[in-house]
């Protein structure tokens, strides 16, 4: 198996609450995996743990053949795993370009080179014309793009995207879907948390469904969508 990411038995407790419970999850090189589940299922928590922001209560996280448990987020990022935040976290006082440059410095110490790379990435996500705008002045849709651009600029092999489409209109969603296809075509594997079903269904090779912190289903999107437990989980939520 050419697994890029191998998660085994991952558990995260907050006091008495088990936010993620014995999760097994794999992402292969060049794969797009969708991580779905109702609100509060533990998806974001799983991201926090995998990317080093939380220490797992139990379990193993192996990225590119080596454990990353206990490593700081910046070290995990340097190994090639980048993430975005569900609630966007721009460097509000810096320009869009500067935001992305900070990601680019992950791979270069040269300021001019970092700037050139950041410009390319900004153009790629369609923010080229907002290069010098302070991040705080960008619209939500643009801040989501900026969040992706900063992560991309670190040149990851695996990109963890937490609801980059939420709050966007259908046109904007289509643009992001197109963007993710291109990113994937360039050889980056993607683990995608998304509530916009149309988009996850279209993009993902495989889906993993979380409910109350546990994996209740996985497989090709078509199969998972017909899974009784998945339907119940989602219906149970809206009921």
């Amino acid at each position: 198996m050419s697994d890029l990411l191998r998660v085994r038995g991952l558990t995260k407790r907050f006091g008495g609450l088990v936010a993620v419970n014995r999760l097994d999850l794999d992402v292969g090189a060049g794969e797009i995996v969708g991580l779905i589940g109702p609100n509060g299922a533990g998806k974001t928590t799983a991201f926090h743990v995998i990317s080093g922001f939380h220490v797992p209560s139990a379990g193993e996280i192996v990225f590119k053949g080596a454990s990353v448990v206990g490593q700081k987020p910046h070290a995990i990022c340097r190994r090639g795993l980048a993430r975005t935040f569900q609630i966007v976290q721009p460097f509000a006082g810096l320009t869009a370009l500067e935001n992305v440059m900070i990601g680019a410095f992950n791979r270069t110490g040269d300021v001019a080179e970092g700037r050139a790379h950041a410009r390319e990435v900004l153009d790629f996500v369609g923010l080229g014309s907002h290069r010098d705008a302070p991040a705080r002045t960008l619209t939500l849709a643009d801040r989501k793009r900026l969040e992706m651009a900063r992560a991309l600029a670190t040149q990851p092999e695996l990109l963890l995207l937490d609801e980059v489409m939420s709050g966007l209109n259908p046109t904007e969603i289509d643009q992001i879907v197109g963007l993710l296809r291109t990113i994937h075509a360039r050889g980056v594997a993607i683990l995608l948390i998304e509530h916009v079903m149309r988009a996850v269904m279209a993009l993902s090779h495989r889906l993993v469904v979380l409910h109350h912190g546990e994996k209740i289903a996985q497989g090709p999107p078509g199969e998972v969508a017909r899974d009784r437990r998945v339907i119940d989980a989602y219906l149970g939520e809206s009921a």
Binding site: S51, G52, F53, K72, P73, H74, A75, C77, R78, A82, R83, T84, F85, Q89, P90, F91, A92, G93, L94, E98, M101, I102, G103, F105, N106, G109, D110, V111, G114, R150, A151, A153, T154
Partner: protein
């Protein structure tokens, strides 16, 4: 281009005019540059990295005491003692920084811990006979340039001018480097910085080391210029406040902010000190008032206000 021309004219004036100035004005100008220097030193950590130290007096005092004790006890030239003090202060800064950063102290908690460190050193100095306790230490005036002692004020003026310009050039180099971007990232959002591959702890410690080293050199300058140090003059909270005040009023996290701050504030404080002579604490109240006004109405300092127009 225009900015560069203005800068060069200002620099030429700062180099050429002082010999023509009356003694009182020269003293004020030395104070202006001295506080600009302290502000610039604080700025690296407080302004660029956004770590609001309230305890830079710790580094200032370490600098002042190290060079003075080396000089008085071991006859080491304060020029050398200055570097020793800087290194010692940087070491202490790294120690205090790793303690507080490792335990995740941010914002006001970090400020309070740094304040506590400075106060701790002040109390130690007060209670240690070997360093003169609360009587302090004096350096007898004489003319010995190799020992950082000069006849008259003018040479001290050029020393502090060189130090201040050095701090400006260093800050500018940092601002344009990868380190400068990383520090801004830390200031803006530490989680996002980590996610983007910035080793936030290492960056904060680097800023801490640079900032404390520079501040300590200011302590040595103070000891040589005034010829007298005691625990509250060097380790007291007023020193910490002076540094951050220049930076915040002028514009924290900008290269020239502390200079602008000091050129505005120091003359005001000299005048008010003369006007309020003998009323202990009046100047501190005045600083408090200025700080409140600036933070309320000019959150990015004078430089920020200027740029916005």
């Amino acid at each position: 281009m225009a900015a560069r021309a203005v800068g060069l004219v200002a620099l030429a004036a700062l180099v050429a005019l002082p010999p023509l100035l009356p003694k009182y004005f020269l003293e004020v100008l030395i104070s202006v540059l001295f506080y600009a220097y302290l502000g610039e030193s604080w700025n690296v950590l407080g302004g660029y990295a956004g770590q609001f130290s309230f305890g830079h007096a710790a580094f200032f005092g370490i600098g002042a005491y190290t060079s003075t004790l080396l000089f008085l006890r071991l006859a080491v030239s304060p020029w050398i003692g200055m570097v020793a003090g800087g290194l010692l202060a940087a070491g202490f800064g790294l120690f205090a920084g790793s303690l507080s950063f490792r335990y995740g102290l941010r914002g006001p908690y970090f400020s309070l811990v740094t304040l506590a460190f400075a106060e701790m050193l002040r109390v130690v100095a007060v209670n240690t006979k070997a360093v003169g306790s609360s009587l302090g230490l004096s350096i007898a005036p004489r003319s010995a340039p190799a020992l950082f002692l000069f006849d008259g004020k003018l040479p001290y003026y050029y020393v502090i001018l060189a130090m201040a310009l050095g701090a400006v050039l260093l800050t500018r180099a940092i601002e344009r480097s990868k380190l400068g971007y990383a520090l801004h990232a830390v200031r803006e959002n530490e989680d996002a910085a980590e996610a983007a591959g910035v080793d936030t702890l290492a960056m904060k410690l680097r800023a801490m080391a640079i900032s404390s080293f520079l501040t300590a050199l200011g302590g040595t300058f103070y000891a040589q210029y005034y010829g007298y140090i005691d625990p509250s003059l060097t380790f007291g909270p007023a020193v910490s406040i002076q540094g951050l005040l220049q930076a915040i009023v002028g514009g924290a996290g900008t290269v020239l902010g502390p200079f602008v701050g000091s050129f505005v504030l120091t003359p005001i404080s000299e005048l008010s000190r003369a006007a309020l002579r003998g009323r202990a604490g009046a100047d501190v109240m005045l600083y408090g008032l200025i700080l409140v006004l600036v933070i309320s109405f000019l959150p990015h300092g004078l430089v920020g206000w200027f740029r916005r127009r």
